[in-house]
């Protein structure tokens, strides 16, 4: 029976997370930045699932009817829910901005400073 150390998943998630952050830092297009944030969320999701699996395995060894790990997967579900809502609002804001300044370049957002 093949087993994969949970570390691999952690590293994968962390890597995706880091990439997402780098994206947020490097890009200037608001939409892309938003997408990178979505990427970060997905990294979290995969991590949660991995953990849920991990804990489940640990608990299952003792009790065959255990439901340990469910909560994490449900949490992922809620994250997706929230993400969906966020996307609605976020895109609405971006569109509104585009209506006004015909650009989504965040570098032009510096009316407010100091």
């Amino acid at each position: 029976m093949p087993i994969i150390p949970v570390n691999y998943y952690i590293f994968l998630a962390v890597a995706l997370f880091a990439i997402g952050i780098v994206g947020v830092l490097t890009r200037r297009n608001a939409i892309i930045i938003f997408m990178c944030i979505e990427l970060m969320l997905n990294a979290v999701n995969i991590l949660l699932v991995a953990f849920s699996k991990m804990h489940h395995v640990a608990a299952y060894a003792l009790d065959k009817t255990t439901t340990v790990g469910t909560e994490a997967q449900l949490f992922v579900f809620f994250i997706m829910v929230v993400a969906a809502a966020e996307v609605t609002v976020g895109l609405a804001i971006i569109v509104m901005l585009y209506r006004n300044i015909h650009s989504v370049d965040i570098n032009f957002l510096n009316r407010l400073k100091h």
């Binding site: 150390p5 939409i31 979505e38 997905n42 991995a50 997706m80 609002v89 509104m96």
Partner: protein, 171 residues
């Protein structure tokens, strides 16, 4: 090397590569497509970990609905061809360095972490829709209901922002 491991490595490689492409590709449309690829890879991982429900939801909600939304907006703003201006080299360098060091630190902190996962038809299939649904509507009914408030507010928000200008306050 077992088939699942091979799958794991393939999916991981795919996810990371396309994630990098998301960040690096100039054309927004391309990034969107790459992002969809990332989601697909992640879905694969879900299946590997025997979380079918999430796999499906991820596929439908994310890769499907959300990314379409993104694509739509981008098209709507027809940003598709113009490649956005880059930030200064130094800023990007700083970004990469900090992101890298973050990764480094986390890995360094977590490398000697125990615990393992056996994949595919793992024990007690908690990832099945049936089980999840049961818990969702028993223990987790409250958050589920509450998240409706979230949607309501998102909806109202979208209305508030999207509605055309009207001088008179009352609707």
């Amino acid at each position: 090397m077992h088939i699942t491991e091979i799958l794991f490595w393939m999916l991981t490689a795919l996810a990371l590569f396309s994630a990098l492409m998301v960040v690096s590709s100039d054309n927004p449309v391309h990034s969107v497509l790459w992002l969809i690829l990332v989601f697909i890879a992640i879905t694969g991982h879900y299946i590997l970990m025997n979380a079918q429900f999430l796999a499906i939801v991820n596929m439908i909600v994310y890769a499907g609905a959300i990314m379409v939304l993104f694509l739509f907006v981008i098209m709507f703003m027809n940003l598709n061809k113009e490649s956005e201006p880059q930030k200064s080299v130094w800023l990007r360098l700083a970004a990469v360095v900090s992101g890298g060091s973050l990764l480094l630190i986390l890995v360094a902190a977590l490398k000697d972490n125990t615990g393992y996962i056996n994949s595919m038809k793992g024990e007690g299939s908690i990832g099945l829709i049936k089980n999840l649904g049961k818990t969702l509507f028993t223990e987790y009914v409250v958050p589920f209901e509450i998240s409706s408030i979230l949607f309501l507010s998102a909806m109202v928000g979208a209305v508030v922002l999207g509605k055309k200008e009207n001088s008179s306050p009352a609707a």
